[in-house]
Symmetry: C2
Subunit: 472 residues, 2 copies
C-alpha cells in the first residue's frame, strides 16, 4: 500500500469499519479517482465501500477526527468531475455502491424507500415489479448511475417535462451529516409543513453538505398509451410556439419535446448503424414529441390534430403509435452524445433558458459563434421542453479542431454564457457544477447568492471536509 | 399615537420610507394584530404598507438598526397565529398587501412573475386571462389570502393531489433578507443546477428567514373536461385501496380524492342551506373523486368503470359530468369548516400520514378518543389523496363542550399526535406551525432536525428579528 506513513493508522481504522475486503488503497484506487470522460483524475488515500448507513457515519467521524476530506461517490458518472478526488491526495473516496437495498415499496402510497447505491435501472425495475413507474430517465448512464448521485446532482433527463427533475421525485431523505451524525428524514408524506424543508438543501448539493444514504421516492402509475411525432421545422422559433400550442391541447400527456439540429442528425447518421433520415427531404431541425397516458386510449389523433391545427409552419411531420417506429426516431436523439464521441471532441455546454427564449438562444449563440469562428460546427440538441439545450462547438477538421479547443475553449464559453446571461438562463441546467464550472459560476451568479451558499456550507460543514473543491 | 416615546423617531423614519398614509399606529393597528379566528392577538409599534421591494428592504434595515422585530403579513389568514405580532409590543407588522403587481406573464414559458401582495384570486384570474391555470386552490380564503403568505406557509388545499403543494408551483423567488439586502432569485427556468436550491429554504419558513416579495410561478394548461364521482363507503380502509386502484387507471387525470365522514356531512346538512344527502340511504363515509383533463374527451366512463372494476366493496356511487351536479356535491365538502364554526368550537388537528395509512389513523384515533371521552363527537374529513386529514373533536352538548375544550385540549392533542407519530405522520400537514404548534413540535420532531433548523435560522437571521416566536 503506497500511502503517506502518518495515514496508516487511519486506514487500518477505516478497514476495521468497512472490512478489509471493502477498501482499496494505492494503485487499486485509480479506477475510482478518474471520471469516465478521462477529463479529471486525482488521488485518494483509500476508497471505502460501506455496506450500511452506520458504517458511512463511522467513516465520516473517523475522517472528521483526522481532518481528512471525503469524496462521496456513486456510479461516478458525473460529467463535471463532481465525484472524483482532487490531486492533493489526502482524501478518502466514500463509494456507496454496496448500499443497494430497496428498503420498502408502498404501492398504495406510491412511494419506495431505496438506498443511495441502487442504480437508476434497479430503482426503475423495482417500481415496475410493483406496477409503478419511477420516471427519472437518463438513457446514457441508466445502468451505472446510482440514485444517491442522481439526487445529489438533481439529475434531469428525458422525463422532466412531465415529471420534474430528480428533486421533484423525492419525499424524504436519510443523510449522514458532515459531523457524522445521521439525519433520518425518511418521511413518505405528501404534505408536511412542520418546519424548514431540509431535504432540498442536500438534493443538488453534490455531496458538499452531507452524504445522502437513502431516500423516499415518489412513484407514478405506469402509462398505458403512447403516441410519438417527428416534426420537421425550419426554425427553432416555430418549435417554441408549437410547444406552447401542443401543451395547451395535450396537457399532461405531453411527456417529451426534444429538438435535434441538422448537424446533430448528420453525425448520428454517420456514426450509428441502422439510423436513417426521418423524411425523404432534409430539414434544418427536427422535433421529437411524445404523448403518453395512463388511461388506455388512442393518443395519435389528438397529437396529430394538435400539430395540424398549428398551421402552415410545419413542412412535414408524422405520428406513430408503433413502438418500434417511435424507437427508430428516438435512436436519432439518444445516440447524439455517443455519435459525438466517435466524431471527436467538442466544447460542450449544458445550458437552460426560459422555454420561450430557446429560439433566441440558438440564434444569438449561432451568430456569435459563426462571426467569431468562421467554419465552426455547432451541434445543438436537447430537452427543448425544459428550455435545456446541449450546445456543442467544434471545428470539422480534426487537426484544426485540436488547436481550436486548446486555444479557444475559454473564449467560446464566454460567448455562449454571455447569451445565456442575457436571456436569464443558467450555465448549468442539469449536469451541476462539480469541478468543471466551480470557478466559472462565480462570474455568472449573483454574489449575494454565492455568499448565502457559502454561509450554509460553513454552517453545515465548518471544517470543509465534504467534497471540497466542488460547487463552491 | 400611543407609542413608547423612545420609538417615536423610528416611526417617523418608517413613515418617511413608506409615506405617512401607508402606516398605522396605536389603536389603528388592532385589525392587523389579531388573527381571523380571534385566537391570537398582540401589539405592534406600527403596521407599515410598503409599495415596492425597495421600501421593504429599507424598513428591514431600519428595524435591524434599531433591533425591532418584524412580522411579515399578507392576508393574515394564518390558522396558526403565524402572521400576527406577539404581545410584547416592540414589533413592526410589515404588511405586503400594497405590493399586488402582476409583473409579467409568459404564457409560452407557462410562468408568471407576481408580487407577494397579490391575492390568490388575483393570481388565478391573471392566469386565466392568459388561458392558463394556476392550480393552487384554497376555497375558504381565496379572495383574502395573498400569494406571499401562500408560499411562506407552503399552502396546500384542493389541487395538491395533481399539482403538488405551493412549494411545487414555484420556479423563482425575490426575498428581502433579514439584513435588508435583496436576493433576486426570480429565475423562470425549468432546469437550473448551478448551486444550492435557496428558494426552498424560504418557502414554508413562515417569514422567519426573510420576506418573500415576489415569485415566479408555474402555470399549467387549463382543463377542458371533467367528471366527478360521489362514492359511499362503509370504512376508510376501502377508500385507501380505491384511491390506489383509481390512480392506476385514471393516472394524472385524478385531481381530487376527498373524504367526508357521516358526522361532517350531518353538520353541513344542519347548517348550510340548500345542501342535501347525496344518496337516499345514509352511509358512514363519502368520497368525492374528481377527474379532469386538458384533452377534450368524456372522462365519466373511465371514472365509472374504474370504480366498478374495484369490486363489491362499494355500496353506492354516482358519476356526473354536469358542473352543477358536481358543485352540489362539492358544497358538502367545502362548507364543512363553515358549518363547524356555526356548530361551535372544537379541538382541531391538521395532520398527515402516508396515504396507505389514513384508514389506520382514523381507526386508531377514533378508538383512542371514544375510550378516553365517551360520547365525544369526531368530525373527520379532508384531502385523503394527500394523506391529509382534518380531525376535529368536540362534545355534542354546548355547555359540556366548553369544559371539555378548556380542560382536555392538551390531552386530546397528545392522543391524536401519538397516533400520528406511530404512523410516521406529521402534526402539521398544511397549516404550518406559527405560534400554535411552535412548542408542540419539539416533542414530535427529531432533535437533530430542530438543531439544523435553528442553525440555519441563526445563520440567516443572527439577530432573530424575523417573525420571532413563530416556527422555532
Amino acid at each position: 500500500m503506497q500511502i503517506p506513513g502518518m495515514a496508516t493508522d487511519i486506514l487500518y481504522a477505516a478497514a476495521a469499519i468497512v472490512g478489509g475486503d471493502a477498501m482499496l488503497t494505492g494503485e487499486f484506487t485509480a479506477p475510482y479517482c478518474a471520471d469516465k470522460r478521462g477529463r479529471y483524475s486525482g488521488n485518494a488515500l483509500a476508497v471505502v465501500f460501506p455496506s450500511d448507513t452506520q458504517q458511512v457515519a463511522k467513516i465520516v467521524r473517523l475522517c472528521v477526527a483526522n481532518r481528512i476530506a471525503i469524496v462521496p461517490q456513486g456510479g461516478n458518472t458525473s460529467l463535471c468531475g463532481g465525484s472524483v478526488p482532487l490531486t492533493e491526495g489526502r482524501q478518502i473516496v466514500l463509494n456507496l455502491s454496496r448500499m443497494k437495498r430497496i428498503r420498502t415499496v408502498d404501492s398504495v402510497n406510491y412511494t419506495m424507500t431505496v438506498e443511495a447505491g441502487c442504480t437508476l435501472a434497479n430503482v426503475r425495475e423495482a417500481a415496475e415489479q410493483n406496477n409503478r413507474l419511477f420516471p427519472l430517465e437518463l438513457t446514457a448512464t441508466l445502468d451505472y448511475c446510482e440514485i444517491g448521485g442522481n439526487l445529489s446532482t438533481n439529475a434531469g433527463g428525458n422525463g422532466v417535462l412531465r415529471y420534474g427533475n430528480a428533486r421533484d421525485l423525492v419525499l424524504g431523505l436519510e443523510v449522514v451529516l458532515p459531523d457524522g451524525r445521521i439525519w433520518n428524514g425518511l418521511r413518505s408524506l405528501r404534505k408536511d409543513n412542520s418546519g424548514y424543508d431540509l431535504k432540498h438543501l442536500f438534493i443538488g448539493a453534490e455531496g458538499t453538505l452531507g452524504i445522502i444514504t437513502a431516500a423516499v421516492l415518489k412513484l407514478f402509475p405506469r402509462p398505458q398509451s403512447s403516441a410519438t411525432a417527428c416534426v420537421a421545422i425550419t426554425d427553432p422559433e416555430i418549435a417554441v410556439r408549437l410547444l406552447a400550442h401542443i401543451r395547451a391541447i395535450c396537457g399532461d400527456t405531453l411527456s417529451a419535446f426534444e429538438i435535434i439540429s441538422r448537424s446533430s442528425l448528420d453525425i448520428v447518421l454517420r456514426h450509428i448503424p441502422g439510423t436513417t433520415e426521418p423524411f425523404a427531404k432534409r430539414y434544418d431541425y427536427y422535433l421529437l414529441v411524445q404523448s403518453n397516458d395512463v388511461l388506455q386510449r388512442p393518443l395519435d389523433d389528438a397529437l396529430r390534430s394538435a400539430i395540424q391545427s398549428f398551421g402552415a409552419d410545419i413542412p412535414e411531420f408524422a405520428v406513430t403509435t408503433d413502438a418500434d417506429a417511435a424507437e427508430n426516431w428516438w435512436k436519432l436523439r439518444k445516440n447524439i452524445s455517443d455519435a459525438q464521441k466517435r466524431d471527436g471532441v467538442s466544447i460542450k455546454h449544458d445550458v437552460s433558458v426560459p422555454v420561450s427564449r430557446v429560439a433566441e438562444f440558438i440564434a444569438c449563440a449561432d451568430t456569435a459563434m459563426h462571426s467569431a469562428y468562421p467554419g465552426v460546427r455547432i451541434v445543438a440538441f436537447g430537452h427543448m421542453g425544459d428550455g435545456n439545450i446541449h450546445y456543442n462547438v467544434s471545428m470539422p477538421d480534426a487537426e484544426q479542431n485540436k488547436a481550436f479547443i486548446a486555444q479557444q475553449e475559454g473564449a467560446v464559453n464566454r460567448l455562449v454564457y454571455q447569451v445565456v446571461r442575457e436571456l436569464g438562463g443558467s450555465i448549468s441546467a442539469e449536469h451541476g457544477l462539480g469541478q468543471l464550472k466551480r470557478e466559472t459560476i462565480r462570474a455568472y451568479k449573483d454574489p449575494l447568492e454565492l455568499e448565502l451558499m457559502r454561509s450554509i456550507k460553513q454552517t453545515l460543514d465548518p471544517q470543509g471536509l465534504m467534497n471540497p473543491g466542488k460547487v463552491l
